[in-house]
Every structure is written in structure tokens, then in C-alpha cells.
Symmetry: none
Subunit: 209 residues, 4 copies
DNA sequence: AATGAATGAGGATTCATTCAT
DNA sequence: CATGAATGAATCCTCATTCAT
């Protein structure tokens, strides 16, 4: 069930002190392009151009274009799962934990919009690439965390019991992550304010009491 | 003397009586592939193979791969907007209209899952293709319809007034359309039942009263 | 040495009374397109469009696109050679015969500009197509006719003797046929007037006497 | 931070020191094939084969097959116009200038036969390609130079006045450039000797004085 | 005589990747 | 570390041609 299987040694390069910095820069550039234009629509030349080097030089840092995507997603899925797990482990009430998860999600959208968009938009691709099953696996782990909270909330009487947790989870997940498609990190609508509004709707519904 | 004026190539597709059937078949095949594998990941050969003809033969029916996507999306966006507009024009209460829009959305997911998925997943691509501005345009028209209903509901007192309609719309839209990613048309969860649950959450919220 | 070898029977269709008219129309259309856009750049669809039928229907009249070119050129080369031969056989003085040949050339440019242009412009193509050696052969026959006249003129003392007939022939041929590239059949410069000017230059030169 | 502005693709071809040599080689190969087989009949694979590389590798040097033609013709038209302009600017008598232009033309046929043939034979194609209007434009500039000399010669009394300069120019141009179709650079007929004969005919005419 | 769907071969172009320098 | 020339496979598309209707 674990998500952190280690990467085959041949795939990860020797991490010289400053080389890591360059790697991160390149991955950030790639992530932005992947998110903006789509992974397939982004050429290694696009990445090279944006980084100021020739496309062939990328292969000094990464084994392949796919390896870049792998690293981006592996890092993202790992931290996301870790962050969620920490919140769940906090031992607060289901209602407070759920609020924490939602706020954490919006925080992630704010801080790492490209990785989120990648995770959201490239599902068709990821499902076809054999090396990316870890994404689905971590996804399921995360789903497990959320379902646990929802079940606990129904048990404790906090959440209404006439809804299927699976449906509720997907409802929340899709609405929250969907915000990555339109949320502007530097707009006037702060991500915490957005979280407030979403939690209000989520908890109280749309109708006037 | 023969008629010599040359017909513009793009207009040549005279809708002959029976040819339409074949076109529709091919478009359905293409839509499924586009939705499943992604537009860029789908080759014209994939489409030809699935249709039992050679890839080159597709060009007897369509000008290009892009033209197929265009036709699929144009048709979809058109009917969707029309269906929504009809519901809005029904003159019912905001609450009833909103319910109608949500149920219509789930019905569309059920009946035309591939087109919905396309519309959902290929946003990065569509934003970069100059010939597909109509998608964004129709999208805005649809947004206008929903915002109108939400505003009317706030005015009438049906909907709570402490939420921004723009945020509410996106919340609903993303949660509802997101279902295309996991809803199984032939599963045990009927789309109308799904709509019920979503409306319950949407209207009443997650917390026990 | 003869030029009129008969066409293989399988290649020429049964000549029903009116079918010939249609054939001629189609060939005229094809010739114009071949001359204007170039043979390779002209698609059978272009021809079909211009004729008001589908490209496939052309194959009811001709075996292939190449067969159309063959028929156009064979007819043209044949009549041209015949016309030149008749002038040469007229028994007039070399100077009069040469004048006749030049006038006949301009008349041909006027009346059959497309075939002339084809003959002029598609030399690179014709040299590579094995079925079109007849063009080069007839061309040589025609060259023979002109060289004969030039030699006779030098012998008779009409033409200056310090020029190689081969060079003179090419000089005349290129300048005269080259006119097909800019002569306008319906312009104010009549082809006979043009012939006058060319003959003046040809015979008297550019310098003031 | 890397430089992120992307360089326009068409401008990427930085003229690196040694890369120019390879480009020129490839262009020379392409020009010969274009001239011999025709532009359309020449495939990029033909060019690649002749150059000893794969066809796809050509795109490392040039944007497209058309770009190769563009570069060949642009360079040719430019030098031709420059050479003619320099002769005209020399300030000699019209008769001497005209002789210079003719000799320069034969020199060009001798040294750059492929480019000349291209310019001569692909008129139908060039007229249809929107990016090649510069050929027609430079052509007109060149025509202007010749017409100026012819007019000056008529004014000075060197050239006979009963001929239209426009017709005279086309007569000379077509006869001279036409030689590219049969002149053999390594044959026994030197290009300067050929120029002699042409000038003799041009100035003195065919008839014995 | 003509249609329209389909073939099959080929053509230009793209692009991830390699490697000698 | 980076360059730049080259690879080789794949992609979209074109087009002459065929044939059942």
C-alpha cells in the first residue's frame, strides 16, 4: 500500500551539490510548460528554449522527457500524500480534519499550480503509460485518507449519513482540484478566502437556512 | 461548356443523404479515442483502424484530424448550450432551474461522455489552437446562463447571499463535470441517482442539520 | 526517324461520335491547368473540379493523368511538325521559308498557348518520363527542318556564313517560343505584329544601319 | 535564472562559423536536383540521399523544402541584380553596356546553371507560391535596367528606333536565358564564344550585309 | 457517364534521442 | 556542461487510381 517505492538507481543521476539546483530549475520550467501546453504538446525543444539551452543538453540532466514528468509527479504525489497524512494524523475532529484537507488542497493549488494541473489534466495519458502506475496508487492512498475522515464524520454524527462517502469524496475532490483551472495565484481572490467559501458551501449548502 | 468555377474545398462536404451516417460513425469513433487516449495521442491511424479503413481514407470525409475535433466539439457545445438555454427559458423558480441544469449535466455525461471528457481534458490544447475560440465563447455563454440563475436565486432569497455567484458556479461546474472522469454509464449508480446526491449536497450541505 | 508511331490500341478508347467532343473538352481543360500550374502541381481533382465532375470520373475517358498529357503533347507535336514540314516543302526561298516558320510559330503560340507552354516548361519532367521520348524525337525532326533551311540560306548567300546553324537555330527557337511566357492572346499586340518585329530583329539586327 | 524568451523559429539559424559551409553544400545539391528533376519532382529524400544524410536531418539546417528554394532563388536573384546594376552604372555607351549585360548573362549561365534553370523553368510554380513574390519583383527591377539601356541606345541613335524596347528586351532575354537549356558548361563551345555569336546576331542580324 | 467510398503508396515534416567534439 | 549534426521512427496528409453502384 505504500507509495514511496525507491527509484531505480540507473535513473537518478549523481546528485552533485549544485547540480540539484539546476535540475530543479529545469523541472520547474518543464512543469510549467507541461501544465500550460500539455505534456505531449510540449517538445523537449520548448523546454530547452525556455531554459536557454539546446534540447539535446537536457539529456545531460535527465534520461528522457518522460523521466522529467516522472520526477515532477513523483515529488508532487509524495508531498501531497505526506501533507494529507499528517493532517489526518493530527487527531482532530472529522470536521476539523476535513477542513484541514480542503485548506491544504487550496494551499497546494496556490503553491504548486503546475503540478496540480498536470495531475488533473493528463489522466488520459497517465493511464496509458506503464511507468506511471504510482500516480494511481498514491491517488488511491489519498482517497483512503479522505474516505476515512468522511466515514469517521458520519459515525460521529458530524456529517449527514444519507450520502455515500465515495460520492461525497469525488464531489469534494473534483470541485476543489478543479479550481486549478481558473484560480489566479496573484489575483485578488486569496486562496484562503476561496477555501472559506468552498467550506461554507460544502458544509452548509447553497440554500438559505 | 462545363462549369468551371472551383468550389472552395472546405465547403465541398455536401451533406449527401447517406453520407451523414458514415460521418457520424467516424466522428463517434474519433470522439471515443480522443477522450480515451487524448487528442494528440490519438493518431489518424488509430481512428482508421478502429473504423476498419485506412487512415488516408478518413480524408475523404474530413479535411483533417483537427476538423474532426472541431465538428465533435462544435456539435457538442451547440447542443449543450441549447439544452441549457431551454431549461433557463422554462420560467421556473431559480431553485428548480438550477436543479434542471444539474440534472441535464448528468444526463449529458451519461449520454455523451466522450464529448464531455474532451471538453474537460483538452483545455490546454484548445487554448492553443486558434480555430477553437468558439469553445471558449460558448463556454462563456453557458457561464452567463448559470450566473443568471444564481443571481436570480440570491435575489429571490432562495440561495444564500454571502457567496460570490462566480465562485459558486465554478464550484458546481467543476464538481458536476468532474464526474465524467469516474462515472460509469453502465454501472449500478444511475446518473439520476447521482444527480440526486449531488443536489442534496449542493443544496443542503454536508453537515447534519 | 518518323514521328507518328501509332498508339497502342489498349490505350485509346472507342471513339463514339460525341464522346470525342467530351474528350477534347477535358483535354483542353487539362492543358490549361497543366500549363498554368504545372503538370505535377495539377491534381486530377483540379481537372475534375474544372470540368464539373469528380476526379474518378475522368478515368472513364482516360487511362491516367499521364495519358492525358500524352494525348495533348502527341497531338501538338504532330500538328506542329506537320505544319513546319508543309512550309518547308513549299519550295520558296530560304528567307521566305524561315519567315514562314517564324510566323507559323507565333500563330501557334496564339492559338495553342497551353500546349506550347507545356512543351516549353515541362522539359525536366519529360526527360524523366520513359513514355515521352516521342517528344524529344519529334523535337529533333523539327530541329532538322530548321537546320535545313538555315543551311540552305547560308549556301544561297541569303544568310551570313560566320554563324553556326545550330546556334542560330537555338537562338531563334528560344526567343520565339519564349514569347509564350508573356504574349497575351487578347492583348493589343497582335501575334502577326509581334512576328514582324521579331523578323525585323532577326534579319536586320538591333543596330542602326 | 535562465533566459526564457523563446527565439522565433525562423530566425534561429544563427550563421555559425562552419555551419555556413554545410548549408551551402546542401543548397548546391538541392539546386542541382531542383533544376534537373523539377522542384516538385524532387523529394527531400532525394536531397538527403544525394547529401548522404537522412531526409529528416535536412530540417536541422532548413525550415522546409520551400525554404531551400527560397534561399537559392533569393541569393541568385540578388547577385544577378547586383551584377547587372554594376554594369549599368559603369557609364559606358549603351552598346557597350548591352554587350556587358549579355556577356554577364552567359557568364551566369556558365557558373550557376542550376539557379538559372530554376528561374527559367519554375515560373508556373513560383507564380502560385505566395512567398515568392520577391522573384517577380526583382525580375521587374532587372527588366527596368535593360529597358533603360535600350531606351538610351535608341535615344543616342545606336539602336534602331522602329522597335519597341519591351519587345526587344523580351527577345534578348528569352534567347539568352534559353541557352541554359542546352549549353554544356564543359562542352567545346565556350560561353564567351557563345556570347560572341549571340551579340553578332543581335547587333547585325542574320542577313548578309 | 458519373458517383463516392476506399486504397496504397509516397511525401513533407516533427521530434525524442544519441554522440562526437 | 553544452553544442550541433545526425538518426530513425512516427505523424499528418496527398493523390492517382479502382470499383461497386
Amino acid at each position: 500500500m505504500a507509495t514511496r517505492e525507491s527509484v531505480p538507481r540507473s535513473k537518478r543521476r549523481a546528485t552533485s551539490p549544485k547540480a540539484q539546483g539546476r535540475r530543479s530549475e529545469l523541472l520547474a520550467i518543464a512543469a510549467e510548460l507541461f501544465a500550460t501546453k500539455g505534456y505531449t504538446q510540449t517538445t523537449v525543444r520548448d523546454i530547452g528554449d525556455a531554459a536557454g539551452i539546446l534540447s539535446g543538453s537536457l539529456y545531460h540532466h535527465f534520461d528522457s522527457k518522460e523521466a522529467m514528468l516522472d520526477e515532477i509527479l513523483r515529488d508532487f504525489m509524495g508531498s501531497l500524500h505526506a501533507a494529507f497524512a499528517e493532517i489526518v494524523a493530527g487527531g482532530e475532529s472529522p470536521r476539523q480534519v476535513l477542513e484541514g484537507l480542503v485548506r491544504c488542497s487550496f494551499g497546494t493549488i496556490h503553491e504548486r499550480p503546475h503540478a496540480v494541473a498536470l495531475y488533473q489534466n493528463e489522466s488520459a495519458l497517465l493511464a496509458h503509460l506503464p511507468d506511471f502506475t504510482f500516480v494511481a496508487r498514491t491517488s488511491q492512498d489519498i482517497t483512503g485518507l479522505w474516505l476515512g475522515v468522511l466515514a469517521a464524520g458520519q459515525e460521529s454524527g458530524d456529517f449527514r449519513a444519507d450520502l455515500e462517502p465515495g460520492v461525497v469524496y469525488r464531489f469534494i475532490r473534483d470541485s476543489v482540484w478543479g479550481a486549478v483551472g481558473w484560480y489566479k495565484p496573484d489575483g485578488k481572490l486569496a486562496h484562503s478566502t476561496l477555501a472559506d467559501q468552498y467550506l461554507t458551501m460544502l458544509y452548509g449548502g447553497l440554500l438559505r437556512a
